[in-house]
């Protein structure tokens, strides 16, 4: 799948970018990295394919001058909710990469990509897309920041085929970071909502097959 290949390459590139920095440059930038607990809600095609689940994740953040970047990896085991038509649970492994540039005031622009892989492959749609949007951040108090971000997802590719209209894939997020231990430790909480207005066509005309996920993540991060 093209989206998967793109995701793997991008993660690798980001990894190289983040680790290839000389130590003296790392000292001039802010880096945080840490594990997370994830919990989510996943729906596909209709309300009958409704899953909820929990899992683990990891988040790394780099800040340098007006630039910052987030790399989020999550793996959630989704189980069908009681009463849903689905019977088989699946694992959703997601990579979310965002590159951000501070514009003015509380506003930053961000671009990136997401890649979510379902395992077993045919229990849910694997998806990959390029993201673009904006982020508003606000300092609630000393060491406490919240952020709201939203944007579009372009060029979505699905493992089961299908397309999405130009503005049919949207995402929304909310985040909180609380510095502790004089900024050495960070408590993080993130919420992300994705909606893909996917349509499939088996020859009888376009049929809506939307995908929607709400994902919450709570974690700790070491900052240096």
């Amino acid at each position: 799948m093209n989206g998967r290949r793109l995701g793997g390459l991008a993660v690798g590139a980001w990894g190289v970018l983040l680790t290839a920095q000389p130590l003296n440059r790392l000292a001039a930038q802010h880096v945080s990295i840490g594990p997370q607990i994830a919990f989510g809600d996943y729906r596909e095609v209709s309300s009958d394919l409704h899953y909820t689940g929990g899992g683990i994740g990891a988040q790394a953040t780099v800040e340098w001058k007006k630039f910052s970047a987030d790399v989020v990896l999550t793996k959630v085991k989704y189980k069908p909710v009681t009463g849903a038509a689905a019977t088989t649970e699946f694992d959703a492994s997601e990579v979310d990469v965002r590159l951000r540039y501070y514009i003015a005031g509380p506003v930053s622009g961000e671009v990136g990509f997401i890649n979510r892989k379902a395992d077993p492959e045919f229990e849910a749609q694997s998806v990959g897309a390029v993201t673009a949007g904006a982020r508003m951040a606000y300092l609630l108090g000393p060491g406490v920041r919240m952020a709201l971000h939203g944007g579009m997802m372009f060029g979505a590719k699905y493992s089961g085929g299908g397309t999405t209209a130009g503005f049919g894939a949207l995402q929304l997020g909310l985040g909180l970071t609380v510095d502790a231990l004089k900024g050495r430790m960070r408590l993080t909480g993130d919420y992300g909502f994705q909606r893909f207005s996917r349509e499939t066509d088996d020859g009888s005309g376009a049929l809506p097959a939307p995908i929607q996920q709400s994902l919450g993540r709570i974690g700790l991060a070491i900052a240096f």
Binding site: F39, H50, V144, A147, L174, V178, G189, F193, S214, G216
Partner: protein
């Protein structure tokens, strides 16, 4: 007041001077005794006799002075003037106290001063200044109108004329203590020599001086400007409900957005995840509302401090330039030394 009393007073003036150097000559002492006993004839005879004997310069001056006072007491003013001329020639700096000397003797002394050419009261100021930026004050009194040339001699300087004028009475000159090429005079001992000439008569007086050279004091760099202090660059804003309000707004936007963007075909959107994170944000907003607000940059103070730093920096650059200049300068100190003898 009787004449003799004046004379006694005048003689008593001499006594402090005698304290430094005493009269050894017996004839002169007897003359002095006779004068004290108001026996002018005896005093005159013995005084003139002592002048024919071997006397020190001091004794000779005292002998002439005694003769001068005696002639004044005997109303022989012209002879008194002649005697006082001799006193002044031997001791040009000799002064009579007008409050304690008889008017006749004082008048005769003043007349004697105008009839001979001497340089009196040659004084060189003790002074310290930066070479090229100050001058040494030199003063003297010339008793008759004459051509007066002032020179500085000694050391590597040789003899340098610093002033030439026709003068009578007190003269003030200022010497910048520079060589002909403009350099400061090297350290050493020098003589300020004043030569007065009128016709065949001439007189010369000198004052030894010592010139020392030193480094010019440099200025200390500034760390602050007097009267100006740095202001805090952050300030704590007043407590407000803004953090809680914004937490509600951000959370509300996220949850409302989730609800609005949710596809109706998939059922009602799950608010559990957004609610959990949003709840945390609202809680954090509430706590931050109760807490002391974070310090914020005070732009006015930052600008003020920046201007202050710039001023101090600019002043320090000027001080550095001034110090560089001062290190190339020389501080001259001029001190007059005790004189070994009178003029001639």
């Amino acid at each position: 007041m009787p004449r003799s009393t004046w004379l006694l007073l005048a003689v008593s003036l001499i006594c402090p001077a005698l304290g430094a150097q005493t009269v050894q000559n017996a004839t002169l002492r007897r003359a002095q005794q006779a004068f004290d006993n108001l026996d002018y004839r005896q005093a005159l005879t013995l005084g003139q006799a002592s002048l024919r004997e071997r006397l020190t310069g001091f004794e000779r001056a005292r002998a002439y002075e005694l003769v001068g006072f005696t002639y004044s007491g005997m109303d022989s003013i012209l002879k008194a003037v002649d005697a006082f001329k001799q006193v002044v020639l031997i001791e040009p700096e000799r002064e009579l106290d007008p409050n304690r000397t008889s008017p006749k003797a004082l008048s005769a002394f003043q007349v004697a001063l105008t009839q001979i050419l001497v340089i009196r009261q040659l004084r060189v100021d003790s002074v310290e200044f930066i070479g090229g930026q100050g001058a040494v004050g030199i003063r003297y009194t010339v008793t008759q109108p004459s051509r007066v040339v002032t020179r500085v001699t000694g050391g590597t300087l040789g003899s340098v004329r610093i002033d030439s004028t026709v003068a009578n009475g007190q003269v003030n000159i200022r010497w910048p203590a520079r060589m002909p090429n403009g350099d400061p005079v090297p350290a050493g001992n020098y003589n300020v020599v004043v030569d007065a000439t009128i016709g065949q008569n001439s007189f010369s007086a000198s004052q030894p001086i010592r010139i020392t050279q030193g480094a010019v004091d440099t200025l200390a760099h500034l760390t602050s400007l007097p009267g100006y202090t740095y202001l805090p660059e952050t300030e704590i804003p007043p407590k407000s409900w803004r953090p809680l309000g914004l937490a509600f707004v951000y959370t509300g936007v996220a949850l409302a957005g989730t609800s609005a963007l949710s596809n109706g075909k998939l059922g009602s959107a799950s608010m559990k995840e957004g609610g959990a994170i949003g709840g945390g944000i609202v809680l954090a907003g509430f706590i931050m509302t109760l807490k002391k607000p974070a310090p914020q940059a005070a732009r006015g103070n930052i600008l003020y401090n920046s201007l202050l730093r710039e001023q101090i920096s600019r002043r320090n650059v000027e001080i550095a330039q001034e110090n560089t200049r001062r290190r190339q300068q020389v501080a001259l100190a001029v001190v007059p030394l005790p004189r070994t003898g009178g003029g001639r």
